[in-house]
Amino acid sequence: MTTESISLTVNGQPRRMDIDPRTLLVQLIRDHLGLTGTHVGCDTAQCGACTVHVDGRAVKSCSILALQADGTEVTTIEGLATGDELHPMQQAFRDCHGLQCGYCTPGMVMSAIELLKHNPQPSEQQIREGLEGNICRCTGYQNIVKAVQQAAGA
């Protein structure tokens, strides 16, 4: 098997390794780096559980090769908090209990941050539409929407 070398920054930490070119970004994050906060839900690009930020853009890490993220700065759910202080979106999900089983939560949080970046004061409808790429199989959307509203300062 031929390998390719990859250099990227994950949650502020420079990483360099040799990988099979077939490695997906989510496999690099979970299996190679042990950052298991990023979840694999559907593995077919529909559920959004694997959402991470690549150079500040929310993408589905199951839908890109790790090599496509070469040279980028990747942020996962583990990279959001500052020490013990949660990211405002994490705090809002906690305050509003924006989760049931929690499986979709990392992707929801990463996706909701992207949503507010482009629309800092979204309406409830815009939040629901903006998060359409993230599926909660518990159907716990009410409190997820409330959490995003709180994070937006609504």
């Binding site: 031929t2 690009a45 959004g48 929310a58 839908s63 090599l67 992207e114 359409e132 790429g133 993230n134």
Partner: protein
Amino acid sequence: MYTFDYQRPATRAQAIAAAGGDAKYLAGGQSLVQAMKLRLAAAPVLIDLSRVADLRGISVSAADVTIGAMTRHAEVAHSAPVRAAIPGLADLAEGIGDQMVRNQGTLGGSLANADPAACYPAAVVGLGATIRTDRRSIAADDFFTGLYETALEPGELIVSVAFPRPARCAYIKFKHPASRFAIVGVFVAQTAGGVRVAVTGAKSRVFRATAIEAALTREFSAAAAAAVELPADDMASDMHAGAAYRAALVSVLASRAVTKTA
């Protein structure tokens, strides 16, 4: 996923030189990577175009909007110049997939893949765009040739797409709720060359609904589009929508698109 050789050229010339045999270009990968995971697609050589800088960017002139092949959907959706020049095109880009797909998927990737339910082909055909490749210009009407099939030759690389600015246009999609692909999507445009109505999702490839174009040429109104009854015999039929339903949707969505252009 089957194994492949990964290449990441820095220039267009290097990319084209790397192409050959069954090599594939990798744009955003939002369809190709998933297809490769399922072993529905494979390539001995994968040529990642992400570092070829001159394949990206948007330029607007008095006549048209030109978008580089590697420009991401989100860049088009959030582009103020595109929204000012062709708001229907910015709207369409803003509705592709979801925000994560739009952050990674590209115009050129969508066109080369030619998914029968993709959104961009409707804008390309609806506006009568020109697809510029490394070797020629291809008219939108000649580009999509079948199910996942285009006029592109082996190794031919899409460089940019020029969308002529219409008098007005709009796109309406009736989408599948999970995949966000079009069950049917209709793009209506009043262009210098007349009314164009492009339909995606309803057949094996995007097509022009000429009967609706004729009706809208006589009278550009929502009622005129809604009154056209299309034959269902060559419409797609699957678990999401039957052929007769899709045929009806084309007229309904065309009429809504006409209303939206106002």
